[in-house]
Symmetry: C2
Subunit: 224 residues, 2 copies
């Protein structure tokens, strides 16, 4: 056979909303290439494991995320010939959306606001492009899927959900309009029957995510 064999890696774009900012999990590189800089966490696949299994393993080994509720999906695959100076590497990127988690206990792994990471030259390899693709996927998914709830604790208020939309989309939203839309989207939110005052002000209803897989009608980003 005339096949060329290449190294295959999985890279992880794990996003959360933390201290009111969209943040990504990054890995501090202590060796060349790109020593003394951040990269996305990732690693080589093993010959006997499927790609999602590799992604789960690397979430634990490299990102330190085990036993946490994270939505994980394949993002895209990157394979231009010179993306790694050492050898030809094809990387399958996975996107994870997580609620705010405790800070990592590993010195090498940290949540950083994406605004700083997406500045050119701040992050190793082609990981800026992969991160930007992950952010755009998350923004788009919030339009037509209930995945914004993946950034929330299991029970949340409409105002907390709106803050997720505002932070991920980077734009303020009209509270009454937002409330009408999310509570009108079939199967998106299920009232728990309890209320909270943690938002401040009057008691607000708590919701959990319903079983809808897509939003009808969708939530659309404001367009200018």
């Amino acid at each position: 056979m005339t096949d060329a064999r290449v190294a295959v890696t999985v890279d992880l774009v794990v996003l959360t909303v933390r201290e009111q900012r969209l943040s990504a999990l990054v890995w501090w590189r202590d060796r060349s290439p790109y020593a003394e800089s951040w990269s996305l966490p990732g690693g080589f696949i093993q010959l006997d494991e499927d790609l999602p299994v590799a992604a789960q393993r690397l979430m634990a080994e490299r990102a330190g995320l085990t036993d946490v509720r994270i939505h994980l999906e394949q993002l895209a695959t990157y394979g231009y010939p010179d993306r790694d100076p050492r050898q030809r590497v094809v990387s399958v990127a996975y996107l994870g959306l997580a609620p705010d988690l405790p800070a990592s206990t590993r010195a090498q792994v940290m949540w950083r606001p994406v605004d700083g990471l997406t500045v050119k030259g701040r992050i190793a390899f082609d990981h800026r492009r992969i991160l930007l693709d992950g952010i755009e996927r998350a923004r788009a998914k919030l339009e037509y899927s209930p995945l914004a709830a993946a950034f929330c604790p299991p029970e949340f208020t409409v105002a907390e959900l709106r803050r997720v939309y505002e932070i991920v989309w980077g734009t303020p939203l009209d509270p009454r309009n937002f409330h009408r839309k999310v509570t009108g989207a079939r199967g998106f939110l299920v009232p728990t029957g309890t209320t909270t005052t943690r938002d401040g002000g009057r008691p607000a209803r708590l919701y959990r995510r319903g079983d809808a897989e897509s939003l009808h009608p969708p939530m659309m980003r404001p367009t200018w």
Copy 2:
């Protein structure tokens, strides 16, 4: 380094609407494994080419499609360990959406209705799953992007566009409702100023695709 090297292929899901049926381009396998059966067209990447370049090359070499207007995008990557009996192969699938094209001049390449291909055991390797993923991607894309026009000739009527939606979604649509929605979606359709009677009946306006990249508001599949 502890990396395992694997073979990387590109597989092509090329869809068109042909004789009122959603159809895919398939390759007749004349050698083992899966000899005497259909597969998706595809092949190994070369060490010096980027993935989209490999996809374009294989569109020409394997699918015989050159100099044709085809929308091509990455679909997903498949890599479970036993998907090819010969060796570990990670396959990056690309989805192509094409207008109805002349029949292939190669005996080994043919358009076939997807209904027959998606029956279990009809198509080699894990290509049924890849094909099903491609069909679902096309169906979803028709909701929030103007890509249905990729199945049409450069100038088309609203009735012709509706037939694309009906065939890809597999459901009849109300003509007046459809007309109102597509002509109301900003930047989807641009009138050419001419009409045609090729639909039969009264002269119908011809349109070409506008420059919108997404549909606001989106077209949604009927839900039951």
